[in-house]
């Protein structure tokens, strides 16, 4: 039996522009991009294609020097039109001009009973070769999983509590069979359990409730309860020297499809959300899609920020940008580059705040959906220990002390204070509520990299 865990701390950011439960199919975008920067811990990504090469869905695009066996492959078939590099020739993105009809590399197909008899090694081999592997994320550090280790458990968060998050019952409708096969395969990789962490109060889709062979746990509380790191902390925390894997349901489904259908199927639903979108809804597309076609004639105004992912942890990609590897959401928010006269004291029920300081009344109507822009609402200042971080981190971790130890580059202290248990998304709310406007997620990643290199 799974556990039932109730959390109190946190803050659910309720924004306007949630996607309606409607799936739309439009003409597929022209270009798709895979960005090595989406994968933490890649050390020296090296392309295996040249500009002008043609690829199929599942053909290798690049691999990384840290683990050469891990292949990162093309989500769609087409022509490699651009290999973009940045400073020091760092590989930034590989762009594919897609064919009208996707052609697939073929991998070996299995029946369910055959899969049951496959060894972990054989399963890993096909996952690595097809490019499905990078869906597996290793904690600590939130990097692509090392195929050579056996994690003590694998965790799957079955809901998303980020602002404007897509509804998993829409995203994964009808994928039950693939999900089940994916879970069966994952079980062979771990010495412990596969945990599926569901939301206690909302309706759970059959995908998660009917699954066999996994621990189904229940969680309730405000965001970040949906973050898998928070869930792990309460179920079976990561200690020094231990390794846990996490994977999104989309990745589990891809694993199932790889073995049942013999292809790397990167098709997915993406939620187009945000207050500036005319028709927020779901679109059917593939990993790495260009956002351009979804936004066409679908924006209320022009001065917007287009984010791949959610507004709390996402990346601004621009109107011509592409969706990140792990993202299933595009958020479009008003750009906030305006100066507000004495904006530090003007009252407003409209201004969203976790705080209740003078003039901030949003706490009076927590159920109201709000339009929030990208303004910083203040300027960077020295750390003030107001105890507010502690109110949005539902873990036995002292976020301020941890962040200070990172700023001091004290690796022993970071370890002792629990840096192994968190990645950016787990502390993203601290960045939101911070009075002094620190880049908490960036600081945390620097700390993780320091520990990793030590």
């Amino acid at each position: 039996m799974g556990k039932f865990i109730r959390l109190k701390k946190g803050f659910t950011i309720n924004l306007a522009g949630k996607a309606a439960s409607k799936v739309v199919e439009i003409e597929q975008p022209d270009t798709f991009v895979i960005k090595p920067t989406d994968f933490h811990g890649t050390y020296m990504p090296k392309p295996v294609v040249k500009e002008g090469d043609t690829v199929k869905a599942g053909s290798p695009l690049f691999h990384d020097k840290r683990h050469e066996s891990i292949i990162y492959s093309a989500p769609v078939s087409g022509e490699v039109v651009e290999i973009k590099r940045g400073e020091k020739r760092k590989l930034l993105e590989i762009k594919i001009l897609a064919d009208k009809k996707v052609e697939y590399e073929t991998f070996k197909k299995y029946t369910i009973s055959e899969i049951a008899n496959l060894s972990a090694a054989a399963l890993k081999e096909q996952l690595l070769a097809s490019g499905v592997w990078p869906n597996l994320i290793e904690r600590p550090f939130g990097v692509v999983a090392d195929p050579g280790v056996t994690p003590k458990a694998i965790h799957i968060s079955a809901f998303d509590t980020h602002p404007l998050a897509p509804d998993y019952s829409v995203l994964y409708k009808g994928q039950d069979q693939y999900f089940q096969v994916g879970v069966d395969i994952l079980k062979k990789f771990t010495s412990g359990n596969v945990h599926i962490n569901t939301h206690a109060t909302s309706e759970i889709s059959t995908l998660f409730s009917q699954v066999k062979g996994a621990e189904v746990n229940k969680f309730s509380g405000p965001h970040p309860v949906g973050c898998v790191g928070v869930q792990i902390h309460h179920l079976d925390p990561i200690n020094k020297g231990q390794i846990v894997w996490t994977i999104a349901p989309a990745g589990v489904i891809q694993i199932g499809k790889l073995f049942l259908n013999g292809i790397y199927d990167a098709s997915k639903l993406v939620a187009l959300t945000g207050s500036e979108v005319k028709n927020p809804q779901y679109y059917k597309t593939y990993t790495g899609a260009s956002v351009k076609k979804f936004l066409q004639d679908n924006l209320k105004q022009d001065h917007v920020r287009v984010i791949s992912g959610n507004p709390l942890t996402g990346t601004s990609v621009g109107k011509e940008g592409h969706i990140g590897f792990f993202d299933q959401q595009i958020s479009v928010l008003p750009e906030g580059d305006y100066a507000e006269f004495v904006g530090w004291i003007t009252p407003g029920e409209r201004k969203l705040s976790f705080h209740r300081a003078i003039g901030l009344f949003s706490f009076l109507s927590p159920g109201k959906e709000r339009v929030v822009d990208t303004n910083t609402h203040g300027e960077p200042r020295a750390f003030v220990q107001s105890g507010i971080f502690e109110q949005v981190v539902p873990m036995d971790i002292l976020p301020t002390h941890l962040l200070k130890s990172i700023l001091a580059e004290d690796i022993d202290e970071m370890e002792a204070l629990g840096i192994y248990e968190v990645i950016e998304e787990d502390l993203a709310l601290c960045e939101f509520v911070d009075v002094s406007k620190h880049k908490v997620q960036e600081i945390l990643r620097e700390g993780l990299e320091l520990v990793q290199q030590s």
Binding site: N239, G336, R381, Q441
Partner: protein
Amino acid sequence: MEFIKHQIEKIKPNFEKGGKWEKHYYSFEALETFLFAPATTNGIKGAQIRDAIDLKRLMMTVIISMVPCLLFGMWNVGHQHFLAIGQSASFMDKFWIGVVQVMPIVVVSYGVGLGIEFVFATFRRHPVNEGFLVTGMLIPLVMPPDVPLWQVGLATAFAVIIGKEAFGGTGMNVMNVALTARAFLYFAYPTDISGSVWTYIGDAKAVAGYSGATPLSLAADAATAGTNVVASLNSFGAGWNEGVFSFWNMFMGIMPGCIGETSTLMCLVGAFILVATGAGSWKVIVSVFGGAYAMGLLLNLIGGNAFVEMPAHYHLVIGGLAFGAVFMATDPVTASQTETGKWIYGALIGIFTVMIRVFNPAYPEGIMLAILLMNVFAPLIDYFVVSANKKRRLQRATV
């Protein structure tokens, strides 16, 4: 509005890198961000949206929580003035006397403090922090109404330079800056901070029988003389201000004392604002009061002299305990930074306040010393709380 914005944009290049007033960039930044919340947007990666709070608003919240104490203090300065000189006066007359007496102290405190802040910000090249907006208001509130202005200026300068900037500026200071200013006066000019300084008398003549004694000094005297503290408090002021030190009068704060700290009631109003807005820690406030009351009760049980036997609830309304608990102990920089630590920190402040009051007649104002002492020990408390957190993690690893 557009005009001001335009003017700021016009002079801005002078302060930016390479401009002729480049050195004064942070002074300019302070002014600019005061007028306009900046047009900056969040970075490409990470949080794309931010809470509407900023440090200025948080500090304003704290300042607003002090306004009841300030307004009441102004009226009370006038009220005590007319009582001491034996005249009756209207509400507005009293309030006006208070305004005239208090405002210069506020101006000196802000002027000196902010001046030093700007100088340090310019030389050290860091933004001017809003923390002093609160300190600059706290200092006048803990000053006696009749304090010479040069002493206010000197105390503020000492507190900001030695108490704060020497430690690295806002956020790095170990001891509460406003209390450092008060302690400086207390130890540097002990003869001035006693007697009639608690009441503004001015050029007028005090009535016969007037005395500048405070409840704390009365209690200490009673202890030496072996008389009942409550009785001597109740009988004080006979003839010119009878009942000034009765329990309820002290709770209301209609008595001589520092400008802003006489009224327990107004401090509680401030505490309500701080707690409701989340700007101050309720844990600290509750534990200071709780610690002081518990210590008072304990001493009542043990017994000894008259001060020890003073009913415990009197401790909560005499001296600056309420003001210290609400506005000084809750300073996020100098208080304990862990949530568990806040309980310990607050309770110890309460306990030490009562102990210093009762057992050390040389220093009647126990709250000031207790908070400064605990400011020094707060990092130690945090050290143990953080160590406990680390230990839990380590133990988990071995099982």
